[in-house]
Symmetry: C2
DNA sequence: CAGCATCCCGATCGATACTG
DNA sequence: CAGTATCGATCGGGATGCTG
């Protein structure tokens, strides 16, 4: 019963545009703002917004690298999204293979 | 490389608001428009839009039940989303258990 | 240059009213 | 019951500016 609410809550957090892509990008290590921006092609203002939201949600956290240099790294909670990301990615790949409009 | 694109493609289809919730609702059998509307609390116009998009994407399809009665059922492609939905739901449930702002 | 904040516009969301 | 039409609110995104 809470099962539907759990999915809805998850989607409110990481259903926002770019959010899951950001997490996916961080799965292979911490990255900086500019790295994410170039890798994803997302607008900088939205990227900043998402990073703030994901930080507040405890999915990622800011880690200072050096003087005036900081990076974003996944928390344990963020890493736990790997399964979901893989599942969605596999589904997307399957859809691309079959073409866009092939159903049952 | 195509891995990121696959996820992005998947999100373009089912990353829209209500889309994944609709699919989840249909996992336990075909349902009608009003059933979905009441179960999800989604506005009727958006629900209609999503159902059209999901149909076009081959995720669900319209099945006539009786005279003037039709339902929506998942296609094979739609059912393949179960893994992703379960993973996201499990993640959301874990987040709810721990509280909203507990990170690493 | 990296990391944001601001302004503005178009697209999307959402509540409600309306139609077959 | 199964949608469509309308309209205000919100969000995404491009450009730009500001700061360290």
């Amino acid at each position: 019963m809470t099962e539907r609410e759990a999915l809805a809550a998850a989607l409110e957090l990481i259903g926002q545009r770019w959010a899951l892509l950001i997490v996916r990008e961080l799965l292979d290590g911490a990255k900086r703002f500019g790295d994410l921006q170039r890798a994803l092609g997302a607008p900088t203002n939205i990227l900043a917004t998402r990073l703030k939201e994901l930080t507040a949600a405890g999915v990622i956290h800011r880690v200072p690298m050096a003087h005036n240099v900081l990076a974003y790294r996944l928390t344990d909670r963020g890493g736990a999204l790997k399964d979901a990301i893989d599942a969605l990615g596999a589904w997307g790949a399957a859809v691309e293979r079959d073409g866009a409009a092939t159903g049952s």
